[in-house]
Amino acid sequence: MKRIDGRKPEELRQLVVKAGVLERAQGSALVKLGRTTALAAVYGPKRLFSKHQQIPNKGLLEAHYVMLPFSTDDRIRPGTSRRSTEISKVMRLALEPVLFLEEFPRAGIEIHVAILQAEAGTRTAAINAASVALADAGIPMKDLVVSVSAGKIDGEYVLDLVGKEEEMTECDLPIAYIPREKKISLLQMDGDMPLKDVKGVMNLAIKGCEIIYEKQKQALKERWIDQVKTTIV
């Protein structure tokens, strides 16, 4: 089967991962999958100023996802929307299992992700970028979290849907995956499919995650072992 952009069914779009692209943030990362670009910044663990936010036995993880006004064809009004609120939530829950929040009682860790350009798969790009930014910040983690979506078009499972494929697919199923434990920390699906196919699509997404995982590790090595200077563009 040939896809609209010429990729094979199990092929990702071109992927670029960079760590340490911002100076102020304790950790930062840029993930570019095709034209979709996510920039993540991490602050913390730091003292939470408002007492009511503090949790006595663990740290508080905050995640904010935002699409920049000029990231899509139709301008997006600045500020939060119902969509960005939901994605912020699922992103936070996808990342939390790999953190040792119990080590940071009463403290807070903040993740900010800005989608600079959007062309399908912004939530998965956001999770990939946030995960590398957390590691770049030196926050103790069990593993990196990796995310990608998959679907089924013309009877075949396809990885990393883009453009028209999002309308053609029988389902859109994004996952977040913790490779070392082989666990799933984000699972969503829109569509209508038998169980067999749901499993097939999920397995393909896991395969995609393994590829992204290597790129994430490579970006962190370049930043911290080879000390390569990275920039956003």
């Binding site: 102020r24 910044a41 730091k46 904010h64 563009v233």
Partner: protein, 255 residues
């Protein structure tokens, strides 16, 4: 006052700065245009370690009733919590609103866009030009960086195709946004009794007053904003006006 601020104030008495710059010296300015394909125009601007991104989105709407044959330019800016631990998420605070309005004024009030050329059909359809500025990394002087990014994004912008009452964003025409001049904003901070341009964020914290001066290609002044609690003498103002015109000329060459 922090120890760091005390140190900066102490250095200022000898006209010295923590990064060894002269009082009227800018950090290195880098401008990269066309960084976001989905935007009609875009730019990433770096001044030292400060990073700011601006993008232009255009849409077709009805004009305001009192200006039936004029398009509209709207400039917005966000001080995102990504850029600095000082900023919080949520509705923009007074500093963010002030910054956005000063950048907006320096571009709009300088009449830097020929708004009549943005009219498609009088009283019915005009182009709305949205310029959004997003702060990525606050190493100081976000305002000047934001203004440079906004003008650079406008210079980079190409009008999208407009056909049968629809904007086709995927197809850009060769037509540029009708820019008539390139306004440049220069911010000065007062530390002790001394004035410095292009402040680092630590210098902004140590300062007691700030003046931003927007200038045009012809040397006219198109925006002024004084902030901070400390007043300026007339002599200091003169010095800052002259300096802004001179530095504006140099920076305009980079745009």
């Amino acid at each position: 006052m922090t120890t760091k601020s005390d140190y900066i104030v102490d250095l200022a008495k000898r006209s010295l700065r923590t990064d060894r710059r002269k009082e009227d010296e800018f950090r290195k300015i880098e401008i990269q245009k066309g960084v976001i394909e989905k935007a009609e125009g875009s730019a990433l601007v770096r001044i030292g370690s400060t990073q700011v991104m601006a993008g232009v989105k255009m849409e077709v709407k009805a004009p305001f009733e009192d200006t039936p044959n004029e398009g509209v330019l709207i400039v917005g800016a966000e001080l995102s919590p990504m850029a600095s631990p000082k900023f919080r998420s949520g509705p923009p605070g007074e500093d963010a609103v002030e910054l956005a309005r000063v950048v907006d004024r320096s571009i709009r009030e300088s009449h830097s866009i020929d708004v009549e050329k943005l009219c498609i059909t009088e009283k019915e359809k005009v182009w709305i030009v949205n310029v959004d500025i997003y702060m990525l990394d606050d190493g100081g002087n976000l305002l000047d960086a934001g203004a440079i990014a906004a003008v650079s994004a406008l210079l980079d912008a190409r009008m999208p195709k407009y056909e049968d009452g629809k904007v086709i964003y995927a197809e850009k025409t060769k037509t540029k946004v009708p820019l008539t001049c390139k306004p440049v904003a220069i911010s000065h901070v007062k530390i002790g009794d001394y004035l410095f341009v292009d402040p680092l964020s630590e210098e902004e914290e140590a300062s007691t007053a700030k003046l931003t001066v927007g200038t045009k290609d012809n040397g006219n002044i198109c925006a002024l904003q004084k902030s901070g609690v400390d007043p300026f003498t007339l002599k200091q103002l003169d010095q800052m006006f002259e300096k802004s015109i001179e530095l504006g000329k140099q920076i305009r060459k980079l745009l």
